[in-house]
Assembly symmetry: C2
Homo-oligomer: 775 residues x 2
């Protein structure tokens, strides 16, 4: 969700697409080393460290697909993912994390840390060495005591293997009070806040307890993480703590709203200690039952292999050209991997209500994921995406609103838009099975008709009353710009489902409202040669060139608002600007349902092309911000898919790579990663609508082995560093002259063959993407 | 909150006031038996069975003042308080209940039931005999197996003594899945819904677990009741269950969203089994710690004595005439008792956030209690009421809104009004110490300025947007009548605090809004000889004689609305009428801050008296409905306190007595009971304002032994069955000609002596109650 200025956008793109295969596709010698790669499992290409440094903030520890437990090193309490690069010391290893998030951290519960010597010191941080990260596997050696820690995990149970230098001084700390994002100020915004914790040595090999934390980025209600830990060697001495006070020989600390933990001396003659930590959101005994169900043994490798198989089963559904470069394989499968870390499947672990519906948490947030992450999951596993949609609907039924963000069993935050609408509409147009779409429509209508009032940071549509009265959100309401633009699209999503379900009156209302973005379109405003922008307007209809802020009745400070204004001034509230994380240049392209109308209002095809060129050439584009995800492909709508493809190649070359800095912004639950994965294939979804734009792939071939048993292939014939333009296409052997393809054509199975060439062609210039629904 | 038609209103009142002392106050012979009563502790007069049958629905089990644990028999799952009169069988004894509530039940968690024989049957209900109920003590003999169960309790720990007919067949069931208000329909409105439960035999004498339940009357989020039970004799055999399935010899059932429990065979040679059950909202270990702190022994009588002492300390703060009749003593102290059962002090047991503020739950609801319960607590213990207010403010700070109702750690429901405003204003004008009134004002302003949107059943002011725009809630919003009337009063409360804190602009706004009730006052409407009523009006300003309901677009059904319409038709939504639980006749008197203006709008003193007389004489008055609590005393404002007193005596005589049917409506956390207690003393508060109306007492003397160490006496000299009118008064020896007294005059200590006479006098007719704040 954070951005960075793109200073390297125009690095040459051509050398990127196949750096390890620079000799060209026909060189069989160059391909030779690849055939051994053919044997490799897809998961082996995943590098969890891509995007771990810089802005990416991805989770680097082991996790099942959509896995509940996500153990990882924690380097202090500040980093969102827990991990930081060396030489920051590691505090310990906690069991729950999120991936790629911005703002205040969440989770970081139940921290364990091996140490040596007497159990008399809570502080056991250490520098690291030999840190190794693979899919499903993390290991590190603690510098100060040379203990090696290895971690893998099942779905709800972490597995730790500690190798000590000396069997006689084995010790372990279990901290039930630790969490990420702690602040010294009580109730600080975005900070997690401590509520309670408990710990109990149940037997020489069993420890149970919990951590109860509230707030964090989404300002959610308290959530409780229960654990049950089992050791394969017995505890011989112990000291518990409450707050800063140590209690040698006291095996239990009950919850009195203080931090608790245990320091354990471990016996046995082995230097190695194994530990399983079951997690549950219901109870410690449920956590224990999770251990018994998931890891009824002590075989670390078996757990790791189980995890690898889970991922492999998913990765193998999208099989890319086996001769793709290692870099491409790494980028692609790591992209898929990041996309399936969240939301988290907590079915059977819902402490709020009980029924037979799936339960998912850590939608963090739909604002980030609706564009590419959810559509990519739909392609990999429509049944999984249907489960996710059903979980959203079930949350609406029990908590009153669909989430836009949700974490720790609580809705929040909203940034703008009620984007569950897009996810539901996307499911509807792609015919995902097993969803009660009438109930889904009811849930969407709640968003669109019942203001969330004082809970507008948690759910629903803030400013809805004004939006429904005026047809736009006036500037007096915070984030009125992106709220208006997003609500208009969300209304289009409602209209889409209403039309399909034959609710004529609902359709009529919402298809009309979907044009509401025009009410903030200031036609005559010219900036950098382009005309017409989404700009602030007050409730009386007046356009605002200068923006007032603050509540003083004596001073009335203002600042000048332009289409390039990104943030409110530092002295004004961060979340109170006209747009959330974006400029008018960005958001004035963000009308995914009425692009022809947008082009018309921008002055026609030529003016729109100029506008797009200005946007990219002058670096107004922000690769790290989701509202601009679709923008590079808008050239499709003026009949220039070649320009879309060119922009995409430039962007990827400049912003994505396999390094630890390889993601250009917060990965946001895989948003950045899934954007990349789609473009590598050559398809790009317009979420909520039933087609994909076709761009020049970066991969010569992609095969979708679909859940329905049917394969769909995308083949880029003749693709090379020079041949980056589509000259012609055939779908199932028939000439295919459009630069987009329906979802149903993929579902049916078949083959899309693109003939690549070194020069732009007239392919795809005449048949523009499907028109929107009309009133 | 429910009502009943008052058919017996005009039973003669005179014989009631001293039925056991009919000879008159000067007969020392008649007084002789009373002197032994002098020795009796106040608590011995409490009869928890008053109001247990009929509409009262009071909790009949033992409880500390504001005590967290409230064990009681449960007779099936339907009754709100758990208990029902014989011959309904008792299912068992659960640990949490509420008192006097209407609508769907709440709590009923962790049910225990002794039985005899093999632990192989979940069903152990039995008919009862020899049921005995005293303050702090409950006992019963189970007819089918002759086990005697005795119960007393500490604050957070229940104590059970089971006496079995045979030591060899002692058995006990512990049901972690039981709860009140279960319905077969999932998610049924007002029904509690099962989420999860867990149970574990930890050692031969210890059992732990929990019950997790959601919804209920306030439709709250899931709450979890943890328990830890300790037996004084060891378990020798056990069968656990999950759902309907029994697991002989399995000591534990983890939470898998199913109902769990244990059937225990108990060993030992004694026929008696003692059990302590600690309760906590944090964890089972905290529940265990509660046992260790509160009952570190096995002495039933000591626990009971501790409870009695707690109550006695509070009762002795209001010492009534020792020569009062037993009936009077019973009614008065049972009234005080009912008033202090709720809200519940859960300080240290808040699972949602942690700080050093008090935490109270089970405001059920402020709508019911603000008028008399909270003011009575303020007189008994201002420090306690200050704690309650601080708890309300802390809930605002962490949950976003002040509660109107709250139970199971969740706000809800609202019926109309945001009555925490009255409670805060009442604290403010009565100068309760240790409250951050600036923060309190902020919390009140949230209610008055930020609509709760989709959460309007939980908190805040539904219809606020319309109220703030139009100055009233239009009929299109449900309960627009009482919402408008209540919001106007709540605005007056805000103005009160704002004025005191010198927030001039806030005061100006809200004192103006406090007149908003006039916007629904239909001046020219005549009904039963009275003119002007609060009546439904649409958003365009049009008055509505017929009310449309339903959402059909084809049919537009209507019904005629009159000032006597009590409910919407049975075929329309129960909570969707113009008033919540009341008629326009009732609510058109319910303007506690602008009674002179109300009298003026009603046509002046004569018309107003006629209106009041009509109201009572024609039985439009509903004694069981809180909005009419102040109405009998409105004669004060036309200079006729004698008529107020007469009405009050009539009402009490007709509606209150010491029988099990002795309360005229749901006691609503002591609302009915505290109304009675005030009137017995001769004082009556107008909550949110700093005075008490003076009426003819039913008691010859009341001494307030105040927390500040100063005594205040109310003496009714010459009171008898005939002398029921106040002829003159002296405050601290000085002539006192007003029928009201400032709160500060009580706080200072002193003596109010009322000379009683057999005929009405001119006393109190000239100096009317204090004028309201004016803009």
């Amino acid at each position: 969700m954070k951005y960075q200025i793109i200073s390297t956008l125009f690095l040459a793109a051509v050398s990127w697409s196949a750096p390890e295969n620079a000799q060209g596709q026909h060189s069989s010698a160059a391909n030779a080393p690849k055939s051994s790669a053919l044997q490799e499992k897809h998961f082996s290409f995943v590098d969890p460290m891509i995007g771990s440094e810089g802005l990416g903030r991805v989770f680097i520890g082991p996790s099942y697909p959509f896995g509940m437990v996500k153990p990882s090193p924690d380097c202090g309490t500040a980093p969102n993912s827990g991990w930081l690069p060396e030489p920051v010391p590691v505090t310990g290893f906690s069991q729950l994390h999120v991936s790629g998030t911005g703002g205040g951290p969440k989770y970081g519960n139940i921290l364990v840390m091996p140490f040596t010597g007497a159990p008399d010191n809570q502080e056991q941080s250490s520098l690291r060495e030999k840190e190794t990260v693979k899919l499903g596997y993390y290991s590190v050696v603690l510098k100060k005591n040379q203990i090696k820690t290895e971690i893998t995990t099942a779905d709800k149970v972490s597995f730790y293997k500690f190798s000590y230098p000396d069997a006689r001084t084995k010790a372990l700390k279990i901290d039930a009070g630790f969490f990420l994002g702690e602040q010294p100020v009580p109730d600080a915004r975005e900070a997690q806040q401590f509520v309670g914790s408990e710990i109990e040595l149940v037997s020489p090999t069993e420890i149970r307890g919990y951590s109860r934390i509230r707030a964090g980025w989404n300002n959610g209600r308290a959530y409780t993480v229960y654990f049950y830990a089992v050791l394969d060697q017995p505890v011989t001495a112990y000291t518990s703590w409450k707050g800063k006070k140590l209690f040698p020989g006291l095996a239990m600390q009950y919850d009195s709203n203080e931090k608790t933990g245990l320091l354990l001396s471990v016996g046995g003659s082995a230097t190695q200690l194994n530990m399983k930590i079951g997690i549950s959101f219901l109870s410690s005994l449920k956590a224990k039952a999770n251990i018994e169900r998931e890891i009824p043994h002590w075989n670390f490798d078996q757990v790791l292999a189980g995890l690898q198989n889970q991922w492999e089963a998913l990765f193998s559904r999208i099989e890319i050209d086996p001769q793709a470069t290692k870099t491409q394989q790494q980028l692609f499968y790591t992209g898929l991997y990041h996309t399936m870390l969240m939301p988290v499947n907590r079915t059977g672990e819902n402490p709020l209500w009980a029924n037979d519906q799936p339960y998912y948490d850590d939608f963090y947030t739909l604002w980030d994921t609706f564009r590419t992450s959810n559509p990519l999951i739909t392609l990999i596993s429509p049944l999984r995406e249907a489960e996710i949609v059903n979980a959203l609907i079930d949350i609406y039924k029990h908590d009153g609103y669909l989430p836009d963000g949700r974490s720790g069993n609580a809705n929040g935050r909203t940034q703008g838009g009620s984007h569950a609408e897009v996810v539901i509409a996307d499911a509807y147009v792609k015919k995902l099975p097993g969803i009660d779409y009438e109930m889904a429509l009811e849930a969407m209508l709640k968003d669109a008709t019942v203001p969330p009032g004082g809970n507008e940071e948690q759910e629903g549509r803030g400013g809805l009353t004004e939006y429904n009265r005026l047809g736009y959100v006036p500037f007096s309401v915070v984030r009125s710009g992106n709220r208006t633009v997003d609500y208009a699209y969300n209304d289009y999503n409602i209209a889409t489902v209403a039309k399909g379900l034959n609710h004529r009156k609902i359709f009529d209302r919402f298809i009309k409202q979907s044009a509401n973005w025009r009410n903030l379109w200031r036609d005559d405003y010219i900036h950098e040669g382009s005309k017409g922008f989404i700009l602030p307007r007050d409730a009386s209809g007046k356009w605002l060139d200068t923006i007032a802020y603050g509540n003083s009745e004596i001073q009335h400070p203002t600042y000048i608002y332009t289409p390039l204004t990104r943030e409110t001034p530092w002295y004004a509230c961060h979340w109170c600007g006209f747009f959330y994380e974006g400029t008018s240049w960005e958001y004035s392209f963000s009308i995914p349902h009425e692009i022809p109308a947008l082009i018309f209002k921008s002055g026609g095809n030529d003016a729109f092309r100029k506008r797009l060129d200005t946007f990219f050439d002058k670096k107004f584009y922000n690769v790290a911000n989701e509202p601009s995800f679709l923008t590079p492909t808008l050239y499709h709508w003026i009949g220039r898919p070649d320009l879309s493809s060119l922009r995409i190649r430039q962007i990827i070359a400049a912003s994505y790579n396999t390094s630890r800095n390889g993601l250009p912004g917060n990965d946001d639950s895989g948003a950045m990663s899934s954007w990349l994965a789609f473009h590598m294939i050559g398809l790009y979804p317009n979420a909520g609508q039933d087609y994909y734009l076709i761009n020049s792939p970066l991969l010569k071939q992609t095969i979708f082995h679909q859940e329905n048993g049917k394969d769909f292939k995308v083949i880029a014939k003749g693709l090379s560093d020079k041949n980056v333009y589509i000259k012609s296409a055939r779908l199932n052997g028939k000439v295919f002259n459009q630069a987009w393809i329906k979802h149903e054509d993929i579902v049916k199975g078949g083959e899309l063959v693109l003939e690549m060439d070194a020069a732009p062609s007239s392919w795809g210039t005449q048949i523009l993407p499907p028109l929107s629904l009309k009133p």
